[in-house]
């Protein structure tokens, strides 16, 4: 018997299902579900640096690049994005200093994040396959650069359900419309209920977004009282109609979604009222300065959503990090925009006791080459780059993996994007091989037919 049929049969004997039943009912795609084993992380905040920040200028120091600055690339260049031949090796434009008890080096691009370094698990051996942005984003978020697959947020929601029915379970704040666009937060063949809800997009300023963060969320004409009055009439009508049509739980299910929606529109807007935070908190996220105001808002909103039980939150720092030229000026500017907000988020999560079960991920779609492009830029490098994680079950103040001595290829404890996904799912309580969905005659999973959990980074 199918789930729906089982529910129908139940409805036959027990009459209406109550609202709370519905939230846990087999028919509600978002009801809370138990993972395979006890999770270390209950939610994810993904800070995405769109464009590809340079690892060798931020978290992966390469002394060899200083000594060999200007020398030709000593290895055969792998498939590159740039059409022209590779330039010479180019040393980092920023100095590295060791920080914290762990002594993990961070470049002067991230002075404030550096103060949180003892909370970070720096993965210096990421490997992807996409040399262009589209392929790299799609693989980072869906596992496949070739086929349309559900995004990791959608898998998370599919696996865990949501704890707060008044908010979407998967929210992406100002995502990119390019390089795969909504496929990067879509549900592909998973039911639509698991897709991400976008708050604005990368082309908009925070001020354009604040008014109505979620489409259709706000009632613009009627007062709450008037709308409730209208809704009561609607529900009477619906109940009358259902009573004439026995044994069909989908009718009652839809009645309940209106109740849920009514509560959602009453309660969800509050989550977006970032302005209500104290001046001190806003300052922590850099919201008092022009340069950090927008990303600060995104990070602070992420914390508010995390507190309210949203499973998977993504903040995108719009397509700014793609420095084929003008690396020094642009990377400085970009880092300045995010450094304080990110550190603010980490400190705030920690202070509120949220960091222990929130997995924070900082990543671009790839890193950048050790060779110069046009003298003052770097090309895309998916063969060995750095991301870091913090909180939810990863070792703190820890460095994992390594690239070769010029930072082109990952050579030690390579973490392919499939391995990265397997590890994130593990932290959320899933055996990535068992979190599957049957579509078109095949059991699909986020990690396709690959993926190895990076055991060494688990705390």
């Amino acid at each position: 018997m199918s789930r729906r049929a089982a529910l129908r049969a139940a409805a036959c004997g027990f009459g209406y299902l109550g609202l709370s039943d519905l939230l846990h009912a087999a028919d509600n795609p978002l009801s809370v579900k138990q993972p395979h084993f006890a999770p270390k992380a209950k939610r994810v905040i993904f800070l995405f640096m769109h464009g590809g920040p340079s690892s060798i200028d931020t978290f992966d120091p390469k002394p060899k690049l200083y000594t060999d600055n200007g020398k030709p690339l000593p290895i055969k260049r792998p498939l590159a994005f740039a059409g022209e031949p590779p330039g010479p090796l180019m040393k980092p434009m920023w100095d590295f200093n060791q920080h914290g008890k762990s002594g993990i080096p961070v470049s002067t691009l991230f002075p404030t994040v550096a103060t949180c370094v003892d909370d970070l698990c720096v993965v210096r051996s990421m490997v992807g396959e996409g040399v262009d942005h589209g392929a790299a984003l799609l693989q980072t978020f869906t596992g496949s650069s070739t086929f349309v697959r559900p995004s990791m947020g959608a898998w998370t929601l599919y696996g865990l359900g949501t704890e707060n029915n008044n908010l979407p379970g998967f929210i992406t704040i100002k995502p990119a419309l390019s390089h795969g666009g909504s496929k990067n937060w879509g549900s592909a063949f998973l039911p639509g209920a698991y897709q991400g809800t976008a708050i604005g997009n990368a082309g908009l300023k925070v001020d354009d977004v604040k008014g109505e963060p979620i489409e259709y969320l706000l009632q613009k004409g009627f007062t709450g009282e008037e709308q409730r009055y209208e809704l009561d009439m609607l529900q009477n009508m619906n109940r009358r109609q259902a009573s004439l049509r026995k044994n069909d739980p989908q009718l009652e299910a839809r009645i309940q979604t209106f109740e849920l929606a009514f509560r959602m529109q009453m309660e969800a807007p509050e989550a977006f009222q970032v302005e209500k935070e104290s001046e001190e908190t806003k300052k922590l996220y850099g919201m008092d300065e022009d340069v950090t105001r927008d990303f600060g808002w995104q990070c602070l909103l992420a914390r508010r959503l995390a507190e309210r039980g949203v499973r998977y939150i993504q903040c995108t720092h719009s397509y700014k990090w793609d420095q084929h030229s003008d690396l020094f000026v642009k990377h400085s500017q970009n880092a300045k925009e995010v450094d304080k907000p990110i550190a603010g988020l980490l400190k705030d999560l920690k202070a509120k006791g949220l960091l222990k079960d929130t997995l924070v991920i900082w990543a671009g779609e790839f890193g950048r080459t050790p060779v110069s492009q046009g003298g003052n830029g770097r090309d895309h490098n998916p063969y060995g780059y750095t991301t870091w994680m913090a909180g939810g079950g990863v070792k703190a103040g820890f460095v994992y993996g390594a690239t070769d001595e010029i930072g082109y290829h990952a050579v030690e404890d390579r973490m392919h994007i499939h391995d990265f996904h397997a590890t994130v799912l593990h932290l959320l309580g899933f055996d990535h091989k068992r979190l599957t969905y049957r579509y078109s005659g095949r059991d699909f999973r986020l990690t396709d037919v690959a993926g190895v959990v990076a055991e060494k980074i688990l705390s």
């Binding site: 018997m1 799609l138 349309v148 997009n201 009508m237 009718l251 209106f258 005659g441």
Partner: protein, 912 residues
């Protein structure tokens, strides 16, 4: 190295192996490549295993390549070996790669075979058996039978001791069949005339009317477009527009409206360009357009690995053809034989061969192929003329640019001075004219600097000016200088680029026959300050001012060129119609790619169709051409075991919500088995007998009693047929997003029924953060939804909300969800508000009494009369609402609210 290799004596070699090489294999390779797992067919734990090698050949020949990390395949995957280890491996391989104790080299592991013996179960699997028309079963109750469909349904029910549900009432049936066949509700007049028609043919007349309506093709064309994963852009990374996709969409709609025989429909979509036109000597326009089916898939245009990109495109084509038309998931056999179905990797690559010999791109690069729908000569005449216009335009620009550039050169050295002077004006309120006079700067330019630098609107402010704005007063001079230096540096780059282009352009225009090279465009993102200053702001020159910069002789020359350009434009031949389509490509000898990797070619894969399906009717070998024509003919043969079955199942599903096979795109082992196999075959053979007429199938189905049953679910049915697999009642279904939207626009009379054409503007794609990357909002367009163009990467929220799917892969069935955000759309969206207000205004204007108004609303939205208790409830709602909120609300608000209630109701959205 050579010396070392020569110097090795056997035992030294053995020792070297044991000390250096075996440990590498043991620690870095044997985790996967052991006798048990044999990943990639390779075992590196024994001499025999090493000698046998793996799927990609002998181990010794691959060892150095894969460990060097220079090839696509990089081993070990956990990290590159250390340099010493690599050196040792090299030494060992160069000295002969002998494994101590190895006997003579054994045979390499057999490579994938081109065929294999199918098991009995595979051979007998139902979907691969030929269709045989079964006898129509007898039933105890003969009175229930209207079309042969009923015999099959009732026989099964009787077998289980069940009764079919009672007939649906007249208006329920009218609403059901009108939505099913046209995607729209019945109009008030249609409801009234159906009630009034008491003839036994009343229902049949309705069916004839609906099938003849152009709205039918829009609804059923849309179903096929789901299967054909139709959209108007490439999706994936760059999301380039398919500017002529709409012609394929219009072709599909027309095909359904004209009841184009399905076999012909299949042939045209695979190989229409190769089929003769209706009239001899003409271009087969329709056929070319039809191949949009193959051309319109998602594509990763930015993929740098071009070979991979091409094979992903062919893969996508195999996937869409096999699932849409054959109901099998052949693309699962890309890397290995299909895990569940008797589909071989060889079958897959033999189909790939057909598409590898088909062209999808205009050149080796990533330019999409657009095919003209006019004779070649006409098209060439047009493009040549267009090129002349283009060249002339560029010539004019070139001359203008040069003059503007001279002028800008004179200003650049004073950039910092301009910034500082402008600041005195906007910050210290000095007078522009005075400052200009004092500094010796040009007043007009200074004014523009003031305008550019002074802005109070933070949101609109250029972030590249942040540094300027934040500078302390004593630092201003330095900062301005820095801006000037950066500007000068950028200008050097830009000038270099432009000079290079100019030289090439002039050379090419001189040699008249060469098309001009594309003119470089400065990307704003590269340097917003430079961009603004040069092209938009203080140093730019408006059209009106350009003349002033020109010497007289240049002016004369320009005027002459302008006249020439005008003449060219006036004599421009009409723009030829174009299509997104495919054509025959260059010949390629396709191989099987081992594990799906094109770097590992295996045996030949000549163009052919899956073996398991060709056992009854071995098609001849494909000698020349891509093989699309042969594929089209093979697919559309009556003997093909799947083509007719798959399509009648889709038609059945369109009426009953579920197919006879409930996995419409997968008839394989992992798909579901038919609930009524004999019925499926009966329909399939009737379909072929009718000349593949889709409309005949509709008629046979909707005229049946099975279709006309009530959707009430009796208690005993719940126990005995909980999933309605026996079809004991009609399955209530939720309207699709198109039916909801179009239906409501129809209800309030605002639906624009214009057919065809495109609403998509432009070509190519947009800049990364541009909102132009979003699809148009269906809420803002009054046309039927099927005509709203879709950008794959960013579908409209409304479609995502109501389970439209992703328009990227074959979607024969949309999974439906019921979630709170859908309710929010009903409660709060401007679209629903507008529909409700329109309806309220209309009934208030047209009908004097409250009861009459309410009756009309029920007719318009729910397509029936209200019951007496509903009438009472509705009327008191209006009265009470008005009374309760009298302070702020009027009677119209009350009616508006009631309209929204009817629209949001379960009865509207669930089709009984």
């Amino acid at each position: 190295m050579m010396l070392a290799a020569q110097a090795f004596a056997q035992d030294q070699k053995d020792e070297f192996f044991e000390k250096k090489i075996r440990p590498i294999f043991a620690t870095s390779c044997a985790g996967c490549h052991n006798a048990k797992l044999k990943v990639a067919g390779l075992d590196l734990t024994s001499a025999e295993g090493f000698a046998r090698g793996g799927q990609s050949g002998p181990a010794a020949s691959k060892l150095l390549g894969v460990t060097s990390y220079d090839e696509t395949l990089k081993m070990p995957p956990t990290g590159k070996l250390k340099d010493e280890q690599l050196a040792d491996l090299r030494t060992w391989v160069q000295s002969g790669a002998t494994w101590p104790g190895a006997t003579a080299t054994t045979q390499a592991e057999p490579r994938p075979k081109n065929s294999r013996e199918f098991t009995d179960a595979e051979k007998k699997f139902w979907a691969f058996q030929p269709v045989q028309k079964p006898a129509v079963p007898a039933t105890k109750d003969r009175s229930w039978i209207r079309t042969p469909v009923d015999n099959f349904i009732l026989a099964k029910l009787e077998e289980k001791g069940l009764r079919p549900a009672a007939p649906a009432d007249k208006l329920t049936l009218l609403r059901r069949v009108t939505f099913d066949l046209t995607g729209l509700p019945p109009t008030e007049e249609e409801v009234k005339s159906f009630i009034a028609d008491h003839s036994p043919k009343a229902y049949e007349k309705v069916i004839d009317r609906l099938l003849a309506s152009p709205r039918y093709g829009e609804q059923w064309g849309r179903h096929w477009l789901d299967v054909a994963r139709y959209a108007d852009s490439t999706g994936n990374d760059e999301d380039h527009r398919y500017p002529y996709a709409w012609r394929y969409r219009d072709y599909v709609i027309e095909a359904f409206n004209n009841d184009l025989p399905y076999d012909q429909f299949v042939r045209e979509q695979i190989a229409g360009d190769l089929l003769p036109a209706a009239h001899q000597g003409e271009l087969n326009r329709r056929g070319i357009v039809a191949t949009g089916f193959l051309a319109l898939g998602a594509k990763a245009l930015a993929q740098k690995d071009r070979t991979k990109m091409f094979y992903d495109v062919y893969d996508e084509q195999v996937d869409v053809v096999s699932r849409a038309m054959m109901g099998v998931t052949l693309a699962c056999a890309r890397c290995h034989d299909h895990k569940f179905d008797p589909l071989l990797t060889k079958d897959y690559y033999s189909m790939i061969a057909i598409f590898a010999n088909t062209r999808d791109f205009a050149s080796k690069g990533s330019k999409l192929l657009f095919r003209p729908l006019v004779p070649k000569e006409d098209y060439e005449r047009y493009t040549q003329h267009q090129e002349m216009v283009n060249r002339k335009t560029l010539e004019i620009e070139d001359i203008t640019d040069e003059q503007v550039d001279k002028y800008t050169s004179s200003l650049v050295p004073h950039l910092a001075e301009y910034m500082l002077a402008a600041r005195r004006v906007y910050a210290d309120n000095a007078d522009t004219a005075v400052v200009a006079k004092e500094t010796g700067l040009r007043e007009d330019v200074l004014k523009r600097w003031v305008k550019y630098l002074k802005t109070n609107d933070k949101a609109a402010a250029d972030p590249s000016l942040d540094e300027w704005r934040a500078a302390a007063p004593e630092k201003l001079a330095d900062v301005a200088k820095a801006y000037q230096q950066r500007y000068e540096a950028e200008r050097v780059d830009w000038t270099k680029k432009m000079d290079k282009w100019r030289a090439r352009f002039r050379k090419m225009t001189a040699e008249k026959n060469m098309p001009p090279p594309p003119k470089p465009k400065f990307e704003m993102e590269k340097d917003p300050f430079f961009f603004a200053v040069t092209f938009r702001g203080p140093f730019s020159v408006g059209k009106a001012d350009r003349d002033k910069l020109m010497p007289e002789e240049t002016k004369t020359r320009l005027a002459q060129l302008q006249t020439e350009l005008k003449t060219l434009k006036d004599t421009m031949p009409p723009e030829p119609d174009m299509a997104c389509a495919v054509e025959e490509g260059d010949p390629v000898d396709q191989k099987v790619f081992i594990r799906g990797d094109y770097n590992s070619p295996g045996p030949d894969a000549p163009k052919a169709f899956p073996l398991i399906m060709t056992r009854y009717d071995q098609p001849p070998a494909i000698e020349k051409g891509s093989g699309r024509l042969e594929l089209a003919q093979w697919l559309s043969k009556p003997e093909n075991p799947l083509t007719a079955r798959v399509m009648v199942n889709r038609i059945w599903q369109g009426h009953f919500g579920d197919g006879i096979v409930r996995t419409p795109d997968n008839f394989g082992k992992m798909g579901e088995r038919p609930t009524h196999p004999e019925l499926l075959d009966f329909l399939a053979s009737s379909f072929v007998e009718s000349g593949w007429s889709v409309k005949s199938m509709h008629r046979m189905i909707v005229l049946s009693n099975a279709y006309q049953m009530s959707s009430d679910i009796p208690d005993d049915t719940m126990q005995n047929d909980p999933d309605n697999k026996l079809l004991s009642h009609f399955a209530r279904r939720r309207l699709t997003v198109e039916e909801i939207r179009d239906g409501l626009l129809a209800a309030d009379g605002t639906l624009d029924l214009t057919m065809g054409g495109t609403l998509q503007k432009g070509f190519g794609t947009d800049s990364e953060n541009s909102n132009d990357r979003l699809s148009l909002r269906p809420e803002d367009i009054p046309r039927r939804m099927v005509y709203v163009p879709l950008r794959r990467a960013n579908l409209p929220t409304l479609l995502n909300l109501f389970d439209f799917g992703d328009a990227t892969t074959v979607a024969g069935k949309r999974p439906l969800t019921t979630i709170a955000p859908q309710a929010l759309f009903m409660m709060n969206s401007d679209f629903i508000t507008a529909r409700s207000k329109n309806l309220a205004t209309q009934v208030m204007k047209d009908s004097p009494g409250a009861s009459a108004r309410l009756r009309r609303l029920y007719l318009k939205v729910l397509n029936r009369e209200p019951a007496p208790d509903e009438l009472d409830a509705g009327l008191s709602y209006v009265t009470n609402f008005e009374k309760k909120f009298a302070a702020k609300r009027t009677q119209s608000d009350a009616w508006f609210s009631l309209c929204r209630i009817l629209i949001a109701s379960n009865e509207f959205i669930y089709l009984d």
